[in-house]
């Protein structure tokens, strides 16, 4: 976790409201902010989704979610219990959640004349960046479980840093 993240109050608030809106609308779940140490990072019990941001800056957003939480979201949306859920449905929901969060968050911080170009989300087999890769991470609690959103890529991180600077917040 970078030092920048600790001072990142404005973007933190925006990300929290974006994540809360998305989870409340799509999965009927209430989100709370988690601490730095509560972050959920990639392991065998997690599902991952990644999404490239291609313009106006270049970078990637990654969503790392415990499989158990992924299953709860499927159950809330489709009413299908854990054992009957198929992997593709879990991945599709994961992708849609990340797509919605990333699009809304980036659109909020971009200048009005800029147009956001994103790739298509990829879920399941992607890997989290190595722990020493410069990144920005947001951690949240949902129904007793934690999940994380991670931003990587030099251009994207610079953009976020500049947007968080109240003196010069345009790119």
């Amino acid at each position: 976790m970078s030092r920048y993240q600790k001072n990142n109050t404005t973007l933190d608030e925006l990300m929290l409201s974006t994540v809360s809106d998305t989870f409340e609308n799509m999965a009927f779940m209430e989100v709370e902010r988690a601490g730095e140490k509560d972050g959920h990072y990639s392991n065998e019990d997690s599902n991952l989704s990644s999404l490239l941001v291609n313009d106006p800056v270049q970078g990637e957003f990654i969503l790392s979610l415990p499989k158990t939480l992924n299953r709860k979201i499927v159950e809330n949306l489709y009413g299908i219990s854990g054992e009957k859920q198929d992997e593709q449905l879990m991945m599709d929901i994961l992708s849609e959640v990340l797509n919605t969060i990333t699009g809304r968050f980036m659109s909020e911080i971009m200048d009005s004349e800029q147009t956001l170009e994103m790739g298509l989300p990829e879920s399941g087999t992607c890997e989290c960046p190595k722990i020493d890769t410069p990144s920005l991470q947001w951690n949240y609690f949902v129904e007793g479980e934690t999940f994380s959103l991670i931003a990587v890529g030099e251009s994207l991180l610079k953009f976020l840093q500049k947007k968080n600077d109240p003196v010069n917040n345009s790119v």
């Binding site: 609308n25 799509m26 599709d92 992708s95 919605t100 004349e113 298509l120």
Partner: protein
């Protein structure tokens, strides 16, 4: 029976949009799903549609290209096209409206914003919203 085409590469998003439209009052409707713009065009040519709801960011053919195809074809240009996107901002919204989109709605959609849009669509088509919804 009304026919509404929903184009989105995510089956979750298609299901969610359909559910929101139903809750907003769109009954007696056949919902036809398409996973990209090209599929939606094929389904539009097969049978008339009363409304097209499309995502922007899709593989094969994106929502903006689909909108251009629909609006350039005299057989389909009058169909109201609702664009649903997470990546919408003022510049893109203005461009899409100038291309003929009826409205641009931000994800995640909700029954409440669908209701508002549906009422406007019905009004534009000279129909009464109450006639499509169960009392």
């Amino acid at each position: 029976m009304r026919r509404v085409i929903i184009a989105d590469d995510s089956s979750t998003a298609r299901m969610f949009i359909k559910r929101c439209l139903e809750i907003a009052g769109l009954n007696e409707t056949t919902f036809v799903e398409a996973a990209n713009g090209k599929e939606a065009l094929v389904k539009l040519k097969e049978e008339h549609a009363d409304m097209l709801v499309t995502d922007l960011n899709m593989p094969v053919m994106d929502g903006e290209t689909l909108l251009k195809w629909v609006k350039s074809d005299p057989h389909t240009h009058e169909i109201p096209v609702l664009i649903i996107t997470s990546a919408g901002n003022q510049a893109r919204e203005s461009r899409l409206i100038s291309l003929g989109a009826f409205a641009v709605i931000k994800k995640p959609v909700s029954p409440a914003n669908m209701l508002t849009i549906l009422k406007t669509v019905m009004n534009e088509k000279g129909e009464c919203y109450e006639s499509i919804s169960k009392k």
